[in-house]
Every structure is written in C-alpha cells, then in structure tokens.
C-alpha cells in the first residue's frame, strides 16, 4: 500500500456530510514534499460562497484553488471542485467543467470526477472516500480500482455518516478500509 501511495501522482479526496473536519485536517497537513496533485470533491449547497476555499486556503501550505474551466492540473496544488458544476479531467494536464444533471442529487458529484480520473490517470491515483450520507463515489472508486489506482475507504464504523463508505465497500471498490488515524498516517508518509 505504501509503495502504491508513494508512486501515485494524484490524490483524490471525496467526502460529504461529516467529512469536512477530516478534509480540513488533511489540507493543513500537506506540504510541498507531498509531490502530488490533490483534488478534493466535497458535497455542498450552491449559493454558499467560497467559504470553504477561503478557510482551506488560509490554512494550507500548498497552493490551493477552486477549479475553473480548462484550468491546468499542476503538481503540488490542491484543487477544490466548485459548487454547482461537475469537475472532469479533460486530459492529464487540464480540467473541464460540466453543468449536466446532478448525480446522486449531488453537483459536484464524486462519481463523475473519480470516473473521469480513472479514464485519464489510470493507475496513477490514490483515492480516498470519506464519510457521507448517500452513495456517491462508490461507482467512481470501483472504476479507479479496476484501472489499478489505490482505493481507500474510511472505516464506516468511524465515519460520522456511514452510508457513503459502506456503499463503496459493498461494491468491492476498496483496496483498503482504514481507520481515520491510519488514513492520516498514510498521508504523512
């Protein structure tokens, strides 16, 4: 697991209800020694202004920004999927956005970004699915796993909302089911 984590170029983090604290903690953790691109998809309501970006950016030691259309995908940058859009991977170096139908009532949808990342980055990702109250992310995580990316799910017993990680486990989308502290130990390596 450690070797696959170290070799991956992209870290995908997906979370919904109950994942905010974990994502915030992760953002504070990262330093440029990470040597990866970080893409965070967190469910949230539209019309609530970029409070999350601002809070995250204020506490991040890496360059952090909300994804804009056709933005480049750079190393050692943390990207946040914008509200009311799906974030797609156009190619290895570029994002694209989409306003099509919500998936699992969610826009951004974790599935959409994960599936798109699976197609473009193949086995070069580590994806972590955290707490959430619906089933978004499970299908996408499975696609990533099939492409050979490292897939990790937060232990549902420890998640504030167990549905999302549990759905991924049911689909056999997880290489590993980790406790919260184990996830952070891995991120530190």
């Amino acid at each position: 697991m450690i070797k696959r984590w170290q070799e991956s170029k992209v870290l995908l983090l997906g979370g919904s209800a109950g994942s905010f604290k974990l994502l915030f903690r992760a953002v504070k953790y990262f330093t440029p020694s990470l040597n990866k691109t970080v893409i965070i998809i967190i469910h949230r309501k539209k019309n609530f202004l970029s409070e999350i970006e601002k809070l995250f950016a204020d506490h991040s030691r890496m360059y952090l920004r909300e994804v804009g259309d056709k933005d480049s995908i750079d190393n050692n940058t943390i990207y946040i999927a914008p509200a009311n859009y799906h974030t797609l991977i156009e190619n290895e170096g570029q994002f694209s956005l989409d306003v099509s139908e919500a998936v699992w009532y969610s826009k951004p949808s974790i599935d959409v970004t994960f599936e798109s990342a699976a197609e473009v980055f193949k086995n070069n990702c580590t994806a972590i699915l955290l707490s959430g109250a619906n089933q978004d992310g499970a299908n996408g995580l499975l696609k990533l796993r099939k492409q050979g990316s490292l897939t990790i799910v937060q232990n549902p017993a420890e998640a504030e909302m167990a549905d999302m990680p549990a759905a991924a486990i049911n689909l056999k989308a997880a290489d590993y089911i980790l406790n919260t502290e184990e996830i952070f130990q891995l991120l530190q390596i």
Partner: protein, 279 residues
C-alpha cells in the same frame, strides 16, 4: 475483476472521432472542438439510455433523422436554472443596467439559451429595473426542441419553486412566483415578460453575426468547448457587440486569450462580466 457488460465499456477516442466525423458529414454539426471528457460522458449516456451499442448508434445516426434531433438534445447539456448564480444578476443590476439605461434601445443576446430560463430571468430583471419596454432579448440555441419549450414559457411549478432561493439571493423584490400565472402544477411566465423576446436557431460554431447587441450573455457554454473554439466564438461575440457593449460568461469561465484580454475590459472579475473596448 469481473467481466462486465457493455455499460462498463467506455467509448474509445477513435470511436468518438468516428462519431464526430459522421455527424459532421451527414448532419453538418461539428463537435470536433467540444471538450472531450464531457462529450464522452454524453455519448456514453445516450448509449445507455437507448441501450445502443456503438454500431447501433452509428446506424441510427446515419438512417434515422428523427433520432438525430433527439441525439442533439441529449449530447448538448440542457440543464439550466432561473437566476443561476444570483450574484451575477445582482452585479448586472448594479454595474451594467445603469449604463444600458442610457441607450434608446437595448438588444440582448442570450447565446445557448436552452429552455429559456436565462432569457426569462433577464426579462424579469429588466422589468424590475424599468428597462423592459425598450429592451429586446434574443435567445438562441442549436437545438430546435429546447427552443420550442423556451417559446412556450411554461415550467413545472416544482421547478419554479426550486429557483425561489436563487431569486431571493439576487435581491429582486417580491418572490419568483410573482412573475408567473400558476394553474395546478404549471407556471406560465407572464405575457408581458414574453413580449420582447425572440427564440431562434443559431449555431455558434458555424453561423455568423446576425445583429448588433448592447449585451451578450453566454454562460456555461464555453465549458463544453476547447480553448481554440472558445476563441473563435469570442471573436463572433466581439463582432456582434456595439462599441462598449457587455459580454457575460459563466462564473467559472474567463477570457484567457491574451489578444481578447486586450479587447475586453473586466467589469466584474468574479462574475466574469466584460466590456468591449477598442474597435
């Protein structure tokens, strides 16, 4: 690993290129400059909805003209909201309308208008700021089917209610339902708001300038185009604007090309409102 059915098999790049060429040759629509990630999702979605294999899809595109209209509707994203990004409408109200009010006639183009939600949002905004009688809004799309819906101006009440929060954040007086006649679960836009609108087919990729506008709004359309195509359409918009006319793009779409950055002044960087400068 499990051996999966066709729904797991994504389209290859070669197959997508094949479809693009076929649609261009037979139907005259050019999707070659579309963002590939989104296009692939749409094509895969059509195949799943219609339970078509790649060769079935090709066959239908070649032989079934009615299917093509449906294909066009599905492949282009027609998801839209009234008062999407409420702060954009607020900015338009405070930063652009005072300027437009100095014109005798205000012509507005909503490009890629889909089912008309943006056209009617603009119509409501113009009415509330007293500019309605001297303005005219043209809504265009490549899709004849969505334009029919736009013209009717009838929406489900449930949908209109889902825009109530947007409306409120845009700081307009009253509530969104004030602008509709409601009968059972259908909400029909007030006739006066439909009066100064015209919906018509226009293809941003292949059609040219058709009028001169004080304001062009093309929001969440560029996200489906690759950068070179965005630039081509920026040029079309530039030529369609009167001197000092305004261009509005989606909240995540910015003018990136250096040559166009020089020809447009940024009025609101957050909401991507620009003004044409130079000649």
């Amino acid at each position: 690993m499990t051996g999966d059915s066709t729904e797991e098999r994504g389209l290859t790049s070669a197959e997508i290129t094949d479809l693009i060429n076929l649609v261009k040759r037979i139907h005259g629509f050019d999707f070659s400059g579309y963002s590939k990630a989104s296009l692939k999702r749409r094509l895969t979605r059509i195949m799943q909805l219609k339970r078509l294999e790649f060769y079935d899809l090709k066959h239908m595109l070649i032989n079934d003209n009615a299917f093509f209209q449906h294909f066009l509707e599905e492949v282009t994203v027609n998801v839209t909201e009234m008062f999407r990004d409420p702060l954009f409408y607020k900015a338009l109200n405070s930063q652009v309308l005072p300027y437009l009010s100095t014109y005798q006639h205000v012509k507005i183009w909503s490009a890629g208008c889909s089912t008309g939600e943006e056209v009617y949002s603009l119509a409501i905004l113009l009415k509330e700021s007293g500019l309605q009688s001297k303005s005219f809004i043209y809504g265009t799309d490549i899709n004849t089917e969505v334009l029919k819906e736009a013209k009717r101006g009838i929406f489900s009440l449930r949908k209109i209610k889902s825009y109530a929060e947007n409306y409120q954040y845009s700081s307009l007086p009253g509530t969104i339902t004030d602008h509709f006649t409601i009968l059972y679960d259908a909400a029909t836009i007030h006739t006066e708001l439909r009066q100064n609108t015209l919906f018509s087919v226009h293809n941003l990729i292949s059609d040219n300038v058709f009028n001169e506008f004080q304001l062009i709004s093309c929001r969440n359309v560029f996200i489906y185009f690759e950068s070179h195509l965005q630039e081509k359409i920026l040029d079309l918009f530039y030529r369609s604007l009167c001197p000092l006319g305004f261009l509005c793009l989606g909240s995540k779409e910015a003018i990136r090309s250096d040559s166009f950055k020089k020809r447009f002044k940024t009025i609101n960087a957050k909401e991507n409102i620009y003004q044409k400068i130079g000649t």
